[in-house]
Point group: C2
Chain length 710, copies 2
C-alpha cells in the first residue's frame, strides 16, 4: 500500500463510465455532469452502445473502443453485467474500478460468492476495486468525481481542507452537507460500500497523504483492516492531522442492523474504543458531531490544557456555563488577582469578576463593556480555553461590536474562543467575523473539551513496540489449561504468582503444606472446572497438614463424582491483598491481542468495571485506564488505608500484553482473577489464572498483522 497506488482512483487522468447516461439525474449521468461542472481536467469516456454522444461527449460502445485504457472505470450497470464489466476492466488493464451496484455481499451467500469472484479477478490483474454497493468517489481538488451523490446538487461543492472517507455513501453525503452548511470547504468525499477490496483504512491512508487535507473524518460500520487504519493514524499524528471517526454499530441493536446493511462482522465495541484511543483517533457518535467540531480543528487550535474561562452577559448563563463545563470535565481557571482587578475596574459593582465573569445586563446600556472586559482576561496565564455565552441580545445591543471585539480578542489570545448564541441574528455577525459560534453551551463546551482532550491524546507518548517475547505453550489440546499450568506459564514470563504445588495424594498434600506453611489454600485442579468455588472445591485458611490431607481426599472424591479430569489438588500459599483486581486478555480475530484490567473477584462479569488496552501499552497507560474505573476512588486508599500498589498491577497487565502478543494467536484467552494488590510497595500477586489455547491459529490475522504499509 502506498498513497500513489490509489492515486489512479483519487486523481485519475482518465475515467470511463460504463453505463453512462445523457440524463444528468440518473446515476450513469450524474458523475459526467459533476466532472464537467467541477473542472475535471482529465479525459471522460462515456460508455453506452446505444448513443452517439452523451452530455456533449462522444459515447463509446465498449472499453475496447476507447482510444486509451482509462485509469479509472466507474461501473454503473447492475448485477451480472456489473460482474462482466469488472472482468473486462481487469482484462484491459484498468487500474481501478468503482462498482456502484448493490445486491452482492450484503444480500447473502450467493451475492457474496459473486463479490469474491470480482475481487479475485481484480487482484489477478492488479486492479483495485471499490465497492460494490458504494456511492463512489469524489475529489473536489481535481474535479474527479466517480460518484453519484445528489448532495452535490443540494449543496454546491467548494474545495477545502477536509477529507471524508466512509463505508456508507449516505453518511459521507451527510457529513459533506453538514460541513458545507457550516461554510467549510471539502476536498474528498469517498465511500467504500461493501469493501470487497479497498477499505476505509486504506483509502484514509491515501487521503491522509494529500498535503492540503487538515482534518480527516471517517465513518465505519466495521473495522476490517485495523492495521491499515493504525498506520494511517500513525502517519496522521506525525503530520498533526486529526482524525475524527464515527463507528456505527456501537450497540447490539446497531450491530444487528449493520450486518444486514453491508454484511459487516460485528466488532466488540469496547475494543473499538480502545483501538481508536490507542491510535489517537477521536470517536464521536454521528456525522453531526464531526461537522460540529470541524471548524475548531481547522482553526489550528491545539490547546495546551483544559482550564476554561466563562464570560456572559447573563448571570443564569454563567451558571449554565459552569454546569456545562463540569459536564464535560473542563475546570474553571482561577483568574490571577491582576486579571480580576482589571475586570473589576471595567464592570459595575454588582458584577462578578471571578470566573465565570458576569458582565451583567449592564451590557444593554453600555455595549462597550464587552470590548473593555475581554482584553483584561486575554493574557491570563491560567486560561487555556475561552467561552462566551450570549443567551439574549438583539435590539438595544451592539452585536456587531461584540463580534468585532471577540475577533480581536481571539487574535490577541491565540487560544480557542467559542461563542454560544442561539439567536440567528446574534450568531450571524459572530460567524461573519470567523468566530466559532455554536447554538448552546453544551455544544460549544463539548467541542472545546474534545479539542483539548484529542490534542492531548494525539501528543501522548506512545508505548515503545514490545520486545519480542517467545511464548512456549506446553503441549496440549485446545481449550483451558489447568490452573497450575496457567500460573506456571505466567510465572515463566515474569508475572508474580502465588507459591503452590500440585499434589496427587494425601501424603503429597501434607508435604506441600509443610513446604508452603500456614495459612494455605486447597483447590481442585481440573481443566473441566473453570469455576471451582461454585462446586465447593476451594478451601481457605488451612492451618495444618491434616486439614490439607483432608481437603485432598474430599476434592479428589468430588472431582470423580463430577466426572471431571483429575489433574490433582493445588496446595497454595494463602495471600491477602487489599483489593482484588482482574487482568484478562483475549485474541480478537480482528484486533489481535486485547487486554482487560478491572475490578476483580466473583462479580467481574456482572459488574463489568473494567478498561480495555491494546498492546503495546505502558504502565502509564494502565494507570490511565484504571482511573476510568468506577472503583478508581479506592486506588488512592480510603478511610485511612494506604494507596494501592497500582504500578505492580500495571506491570502484570503489561506482561500479559507481551505474552499475548508473543503467542501470536496461540493463546485464545487468559483470565487472571483475582490479582491481589497490596499497599504501595507490597506488590501484586496472581492467585488464580486460566489460560485458554486457541482452537486454531488465525493465520489470516497473523499474516495481516505483519503486512504493515511501507
Amino acid at each position: 500500500m502506498s498513497p500513489s497506488l490509489l492515486s489512479c482512483a483519487l486523481n485519475p487522468q482518465s475515467v470511463a463510465i460504463i453505463g453512462a447516461s445523457d440524463n444528468i439525474h440518473k446515476i450513469g449521468g450524474r458523475p459526467i455532469h459533476y466532472m464537467q461542472r467541477h473542472g475535471f481536467a482529465g479525459r471522460i469516456y462515456p460508455i453506452n452502445p446505444q448513443r452517439e454522444t452523451i452530455q456533449g461527449l462522444p459515447s463509446y460502445a465498449s472499453l475496447a473502443a476507447l482510444p486509451e485504457v482509462p485509469e479509472l472505470a466507474l461501473v454503473v450497470v447492475a448485477g451480472d453485467t456489473a460482474a462482466a464489466a469488472v472482468e473486462d476492466c481487469a482484462a484491459r488493464g484498468v487500474q481501478a474500478a468503482v462498482v456502484i451496484a448493490s445486491g452482492f455481499g450484503e444480500t447473502g451467500p450467493e451475492g457474496a460468492a459473486v463479490q469474491r469472484q470480482m475481487v479475485a479477478t481484480a487482484r489477478a490483474a492488479g486492479m483495485r476495486l471499490f465497492g460494490p454497493n458504494t456511492q463512489g468517489l469524489a475529489n473536489f481538488g481535481t474535479g474527479a468525481i466517480a460518484g453519484f451523490s445528489t448532495m452535490f446538487i443540494e449543496v454546491p461543492p467548494q474545495d477545502g481542507p477536509v477529507g471524508i472517507v466512509s463505508q456508507s455513501g449516505g453518511m459521507s453525503a451527510m457529513a459533506y452537507g453538514l460541513l458545507r452548511g457550516r461554510g467549510l470547504g471539502v476536498r474528498h468525499v469517498h465511500a467504500t460500500g461493501n469493501e470487497a477490496d479497498v477499505t476505509v483504512g486504506e483509502l484514509a491512508w491515501a487521503v491522509a497523504h494529500d498535503p492540503d487535507v487538515r482534518l480527516l473524518l471517517l465513518y465505519l460500520e466495521n473495522i476490517a483492516q485495523p492495521e491499515l487504519l493504525a498506520a494511517t493514524a500513525a502517519y496522521a499524528r506525525e503530520r498533526d492531522l486529526p482524525i475524527i471517526a464515527v463507528k456505527a454499530g456501537r450497540t447490539a441493536g446497531g450491530q444487528k442492523a449493520a450486518s444486514s446493511h453491508t454484511g459487516s462482522l460485528a466488532n466488540e465495541d469496547r475494543t473499538v474504543d480502545a483501538f481508536f484511543r490507542h491510535h489517537g483517533i477521536w470517536r464521536v457518535r454521528d456525522p453531526h458531531a464531526q461537522a460540529l467540531a470541524a471548524e475548531a480543528y481547522l482553526k489550528g487550535w491545539r490547546p495546551a490544557g483544559r482550564r476554561l474561562v466563562v464570560i456572559s452577559n447573563s448571570g443564569a448563563s454563567c451558571v449554565m456555563g459552569a454546569d456545562a463545563a463540569d459536564d464535560v470535565g473542563l475546570p474553571l481557571a482561577a483568574l490571577a488577582p491582576a486579571t480580576q482587578a482589571a475586570v473589576a475596574a471595567k464592570l459595575p459593582g454588582f458584577a462578578t469578576t471571578t470566573n465565570p465573569i458576569d458582565i451583567t445586563a449592564a451590557l444593554l446600556s453600555n455595549s462597550g463593556l464587552f470590548g473593555d472586559v475581554l482584553p483584561a482576561v486575554a493574557q491570563d496565564p491560567a486560561a487555556d480555553l475561552f467561552f462566551i455565552n450570549i443567551p439574549v441580545a438583539g435590539a438595544g445591543y451592539d452585536v456587531d461590536a461584540f463580534a468585532r471585539d471577540t475577533a480581536a480578542f481571539e487574535a490577541a489570545t491565540g487560544k480557542p474562543v467559542a461563542v454560544a448564541a442561539w439567536q440567528d441574528s446574534v450568531a450571524a455577525p459572530f460567524r461573519a467575523q470567523g468566530i466559532a459560534t455554536y447554538a448552546n453551551e453544551a455544544q460549544a463546551l463539548g467541542v472545546l473539551a474534545q479539542l483539548a482532550d484529542h490534542t492531548a491524546l494525539m501528543r501522548k507518548p506512545r508505548a515503545p513496540a514490545l520486545p519480542p517475547v517467545k511464548v512456549a505453550l506446553p503441549a496440549g489440546p485446545a481449550g483451558f489449561m489447568n490452573e497450575v499450568d496457567s500460573l506456571a506459564l505466567l510465572a515463566r514470563h515474569g508475572v508474580p504468582t502465588v507459591p503452590l504445588r500440585l499434589v496427587s495424594s494425601a501424603q503429597q498434600a501434607r508435604e506441600a503444606f509443610a513446604a508452603i506453611g500456614a495459612p494455605a489454600v486447597a483447590k481442585a485442579c481440573s481443566p473441566d472446572i473453570p469455576h471451582k468455588s461454585e462446586h465447593g472445591l476451594v478451601a481457605l485458611n488451612l492451618q495444618s497438614a491434616d486439614e490439607a490431607a483432608e481437603c485432598f481426599d474430599r476434592f479428589w472424591h468430588k472431582m470423580g463424582t463430577l466426572g471431571a479430569a483429575r489433574d490433582g489438588v493445588v496446595i497454595a500459599a494463602m495471600r491477602r491483598g487489599r483489593h482484588e483486581f482482574m487482568v484478562g486478555a483475549r485474541h480478537d480475530p480482528v484486533f489481535g491481542p486485547v487486554v482487560v484490567v478491572g475490578d476483580g473477584g466473583k462479580n467481574v462479569e456482572a459488574l463489568q468495571d473494567c478498561a480495555v488496552l491494546l498492546p503495546p501499552f505502558s504502565t502509564q497507560d494502565v494507570h490511565d485506564a484504571l482511573r476510568t474505573l468506577r472503583i478508581a476512588p479506592l486506588l488512592a486508599g480510603v478511610r485511612g488505608d494506604p494507596p494501592l500498589d497500582v504500578t505492580a498491577l500495571a506491570h502484570v497487565a503489561v506482561a500479559v500484553g507481551a505474552v499475548m502478543a508473543g503467542a501470536n494467536g496461540a493463546i485464545a484467552s487468559m483470565d487472571l482473577n483475582p490479582v491481589l494488590v497490596g499497599a504501595v510497595g507490597e506488590g501484586a500477586v496472581v492467585v488464580d489464572a486460566l489460560v485458554e489455547r486457541s482452537t486454531h491459529l488465525d493465520a489470516d490475522h497473523m499474516q495481516r498483522a505483519h503486512a504493515h504499509p511501507a
Copy 2:
C-alpha cells in the same frame, strides 16, 4: 395560596408603571409599548412627574394622583427609590408589585437587609412582591405585560398553550424565543428574580390553573419552597399537565456561580433529582432541551410503552437509529410476521423488513415506496413509537409526498411519530405537515424516550401518605447517639436489628456471650467514635465467653486511651448476609426527610453507589431505585447465587423514611451500615447504625411543610 391570589399579577385590570418612559426602547417604556401592542384591555397608568403624556397615555405624577388604586404596579426605578415606591404601593392598597431593579439580595448583606424590609412592608399590607432583580411578567393571553424583555421584539409573540416560569429573565426569554422559533405559541413568560416573596413554585401553581396551558416549563437556580412546587406538580398530574424543569447549579461550579447570581442557597443535586422524580416533574439540562421536546408533548402524545420502530431510506441510518435507540434505552419492537410480510411485499428483495426497516435507496427511483410501507406497519401492536430517519433526500425524491404520507401515517396510528431530517429542504415539507421533525436521530429519539418515560412517571401510582409515626427520641444532647441507642430506636420502629447487649464489665460480657451464642461480635460503644473499625475497636467471630471478656477489657482500655466517652461494649450476634447494603437518611433544611439506599460497607463514601428517595415512598419505589445502582446486576443473584431479599431491604428503607418523617426534624441523620441482606426469604438485618440528633429543630421548615395550598 390560591390561583386567584396571583390573578392580580397575571391578569390585572389596571397596571401602573412607576418610572414610565416615552422611549419604547427603555425599560420604563417597553412594558407600555408591549401592552398597547398586544391588546391589553385593562387600564395602563404611566407614572412620571416629568411628563404630561407617555406613549399617547396621560402621565401621572404619583400613585396618589391616579384615578384608582392599580391592581398591579411595575416598579422600574432603582435603588432607594424602588424601596420607597414599594412602600407607597403597600400603603395605597396595590395588590402586587413587580420590582425590576437589581442591587438587593444578590449583592450582599446590605442589599439583603433592604430586600427583607421590602418584603416586610408588602406582607404587612397584604401586597405580593415579585423580584427584585427580575425581568417581570408577561401574559400573552391578556396582553398584560409587566416586563421588559427585548425578546418580545426579536420574536413576535403568539398566544399559545405553553407557560414559562423562571427565576432568570434571560432564561425565560430564551425558552420563549426557542419555542417561538419552532412555531409554538406561548401564553406566559414570567420571571421571579430574587424571589424575595413569590417563588417559581407559587407562580407555577397559578399558571398551572390556567386551563389553556398544556405544557409548563420551569427554570430554577434554587428550590426555595419545595412544598409549593410539590403541590403544583400534584395538581398538574391530576389534569395531565406535564412539567419540564431546568434546575441550574447542578454542579459545584454551577452552584457557586448561582450563589453570586441571585444569592441562592445551593440544593444538593441528587436530592433535587429525587424531588423532581418524586413529583413527576421531568428534569432537563437547559432551555434548548425544553423547547426541543415541547411539540411532542403538545401533540397530546402519551405513549403506553417504549417499543420503537425505526424506518429509513439508508442502511447506515438504520444502524445509527438502532444505536441511538439503545443510547436512550428504547427497545426495538419485534414486528409481527404479518407486518413483515406486508412490508416485504412492498420493498425490493434486498431491503430489510425486520426492525429497523430499510426502504433502501430504491426510494430514489420509486418515491411511492414510502407511502406503501408506512401503512403496513401502522397497526402493528408491538409498536409504541415510530421514528423515520431521512439522512439524504432532495433532488430526485418526492419529499412532499413523503411528508404527506407521514402525516397520514401519524393520523392512522395515533401514536408518536418523529422524523429526523437535517436538510432544511427536507425538514420544511415535513414541518409544514405538522410533523415533529428533528435535526438528528439523537434529538428525535431523546424526545420520544423522554415522552414515554415522563408519561410513565406522571402516571406511576404515588405511595400513600405515611401513617403518623410518633418518634420518641431518648433524652440526650445534639449529635450522634451511640450504637446501642441508635439500633434500639430503629428496632422500636420495626426495623430488624441484630440481637445485642451493652455491657460494662468483663463478667457482663461473659453473660452476654452466653445469652447470644457463638459466633459473636464485640464492638466498643461510644458516641465519640463513629468509625470503630479504624481504631481496632471491632472484633469478629468470637467463639467463647473468654474471648468476649478479653475484648471487653481491651476495648475499655483503648476507649480510655482515646479519651472517648465509654458507654460500654456491645456484644452482638454475628450475622452474615449475602451482600452489605446501606440505608441512610438526613433531614434536609429545604426538602425535609431524604433517604438514601445503596451499596454498603466500608467504601460507601468513596464509591457513592446509591439512590435518593423522598418519603413517602413505597417498597416498589425502593425496588425501582435499587435498579439504578451500579451493583443492580447483583440483586438477581450471579453465578448460581439466589436472588437477594430486596423486599426486606425495601421495608427497612420505608421504615427509615417513616421515622424521619415522624421525627419532624429532630433527627438530623441516620446511617444504617451495613444492612446485611440475605437470599429471598432470609430477610435483612441492620448490624450497625448511628442516629444523629438535630442541633436545633428547623421550625421554619416544619411550619412550611404544613402550609400546603388549598
